[in-house]
Amino acid sequence: MPDQADNKFRTATIAVLVDNEPGILARVVGLFSGRGYNIESLTVAAVDEERAISRITIVTGGTDMVIEQIKAQLDRLVPVRKVCDLSLEGPHLARELMLIKVVCTGEQRMEALRLADAFRARVVDATTASFVFEMTGNGDKLEAFTALMRPLGLAEVVRTGVIGITRGTYSLKA
C-alpha cells in the first residue's frame, strides 16, 4: 500500500448527471451517509426536462483513493449516467448564490451599502431598518462578505451550495 502521507486530503467538486426519477437524491445521500463520506455541499435541479435528466453537484473531501471510490460508488448507482470530478478536469468555475439580511441603521447602513457595492452584491429588498443583498461567487467571496456584515448587523444568511462547470470546450453530456 502506498504511503498515506503522499495521499493528502483534498476537496473535490463532483458533477453527477442522473435520471430524474423518484428516490434518486435519497440514493445519492444514502450512499454518502452509509459509506461514511462527507458532504460539504449538495445542489440538485433538473437540467433537461425533455430527457428527464437532473444534475447534482456535490462538494466532498478525502484522499485521492477515497474520492476515486466516491466517484465509482456514484457511477454504480443504476440511474446515474455520468460522474465527473470537476477538480480534476482542469480549470472549472464554481459558483454559489447567497441571500443575506442585514438589520442596521445610521452610519452602519451606509457602510453595508458601500461594502455591498465593492463586492457587487445587489440590493433585492430594503426597509428603513434592513437590507437583503443577493450575491453570487465562490465560497471564499461569500464568506468574506458575510464576515464583513457580521459587525454591521448580520441577521440571516441563506446559500444555495456550489454549482460547477468546466471552462473551455469540454462539456459533460449524458
Binding site: M1, P2, D19, P22, G23, A26, R27, G30, G34, M65, E68, Q69, A72, Q73, D75, R76, L77, V78, P79, R81, A174
Partner: protein, 599 residues
Amino acid sequence: MSAATLNAATSTADIMTGAEIVLRALKEQGVDTIFGYPGGAVLPLYDALFQQNAIRHILVRHEQAAVHAAEGYARSTGKVGCILVTSGPGATNAVTGLLDALMDSIPLVCITGQVPTHLIGNDAFQEADTTGITRPATKHNYLVKDVKKLASVVHEAFYVARNGRPGPVLIDLPKDVMLGSGPYSEAPTAPHRSYRPQREPNAESIQQAIRLLKGAKRPIVYAGGGIVNAGPEASRLLTEFVRLTGFPCTNTLMGLGTYPASDKQFLGMLGMHGTYEANLAMHGCDVMLNIGARFDDRVTGRLNAFSPGSKKIHCDIDQSSINKNVPVDVAIIGDAGLTLKALLEAWQADSQPQHTGALAEWWSKITEWRANDCLRYRQEGSIIKPQHAIRRLYEITQELGRETFITTEVGQHQMWAAQYFGFDKPNHWMTSGGLGTMGYGLPAAMGVQIAHPDALVIDIAGEASTLMNIQEMSTLAQYRLPVKVFILNNEYMGMVRQWQELLHGGRYSESYSSALPDFVKLAESFHAKGIRVTRAEDLDAGIREMLAYPGTVIADIAVAKDENCFPMIPSGAAHNEMILGEDQEGGVKGVTDEGKVLV
C-alpha cells in the same frame, strides 16, 4: 419507432390487470419458480397465480427463507431468482436475504406488495416504506405507481439484476396497481435508458497485464465469485489459463469450484481460514492476478502487510471494487469470462518467454509450504472430529458419484466445509460469504433442490445456525424435497466460542447452545428422517444411511465440542502471521488491540 408503428403497437397491445402483467412479464423473463408467502397486499397476485400453470409458487414459512431459497436457486442455475412477499412485515423479513444477495452478487427480483397508492404515507395497516428500507440492501428498487409502466419496470428489473455486477432488485407494488388495467409490453431490446455496464475488457489493460504476467517469477492467480457469475464457461477458461501458464491458483470462499479442487495447481482457499500455502503464496508472490474477487477483509488480513512486494492486476466487473481496499497496478473492468478469454489470447500471441526456471523454484517453495499439511487433524477415539465428519461426507459422496450440491450455514462448520469438501465445478457450492447470515443454508438448499430435483443437496450445518430457519423443514415436507441437513453439533456457537477462547480469555459469554431440541424427533415431527451419530465408529454408517434415504433427513452428528478452526489469521494480522493449530495453540500471537476491534 415511427408514430404509425407506435399506434399499431398500442392498439394491438393486450390490456390486462397489473397482476396479470407481472406474471406474463415473469414468464417472458424465463421465470418458472417463485418463492413467496401471501398476505393482504399481494392477494391480487396470488389470485392470478392460482389461475395459471406456467409459474410454480413455493410456499415458504418465513420471508427471509424465500429470499435465501431464491439465492440457492439462482446460484445453482445461473438464472435470476424470484420472490413474492407481502407489504410491511413481509418486506422487512425479506431484508436480510436481500442484503445477503447484494453482498454476494446474486441476481434476484423481489416483488413486494404495498398498500394502495392513496394510503401510502398514512401509516396504513402493514405499511412500510419498503423502497426506503431496502435502498441500501438492493442493487436497485422501484415503487410502481402507474400500471401502464408496470411491464417495462419488470423487464428492466431483470435486466438490472443480471447485468453488470448482479444483485437483488426490488419492485414495490401497491395493491391498486395490481388491480388496475393496463397494456402489456414485451421486453425491449434496450431495457434501460442509461444503464450499460462495461463487459468487454480494455485491450491496452490486457496487454499491460500480460507483460506483468510473462515477467512474473512468483505469480499467483486469485479467483473469486465473479467467475461463478460469469457462467461455467468462465471457469473453464480459468482452468485453461492456469494450466497454460503453469501458475498456482487459489480461490476465495465465494469462488470455490471455479478451479477444480482436485487439481495439483490448486492451493486451496485463501484468507482467514485459508491454507498455509495459499496465504504464504499470496504474501510472497511478485505478480498477483485477481479475477472476480474484491480484496475482502477476510482475504487480505492487515492491509498494510498484505502481499507487500507484488504487482497486482485486478479484473472486476465493478469499477468500485478497484482500489477500494488495495491499490492495484493494472485494473481491468469487464466480465470475468470475456477477460479470461482476452488474457488467454493475448498470452498465446505474446512472444515473450516465461521465467520457467523461476517458476519451478516458486513451485518448490510452495511444495515446502504444502508439506506442512496445514489441514491435518487426528481422528482418535470415539469422539468425532468435525473435520473428519466433513472429509468422510465428501469421500462417500464422491464414491456415490451423484451430482452433489452443498449449502452451508455460517460459522466453524462453514469454514470446515470450505476446507475439507472439494469442489471441482462452479455453481455447486452455496454459502453466505459477505453478510455471513446464519440460517442461510437450509432455505438455500431448498431452492437448490427445487432447481435440481434429482441431485443430492446437502446443507452442512451447525446446530445453532440451522435453528435460525428451522421452520423450513415444513416447506421441505410440503414439496417432498429430499434435502439432507448434516448438523455438526458441538452444542456451541462454535466460531463465537473459538474467538472467545482465543481473544476473550475463555469467557464463553452466551455462546453455548442450551436447551437444544432432539433433532431426531424434530425431523420426525416434520415427516422427515432423523439420524443421530455420537461415535466415530458409527459415522460412515450414519452418512450412508442419510445419503441412501430417498426423503428429507436431519443427521445430527455429535462432534468434539472444543475443536477450533485452523489455520487462522487473527484479525489485524498478516498472511504470514497465521496460527496453525495444535502445535501452536495456547496463545494467539499478533493480535493487537487494533486487531481486537475488528470482527
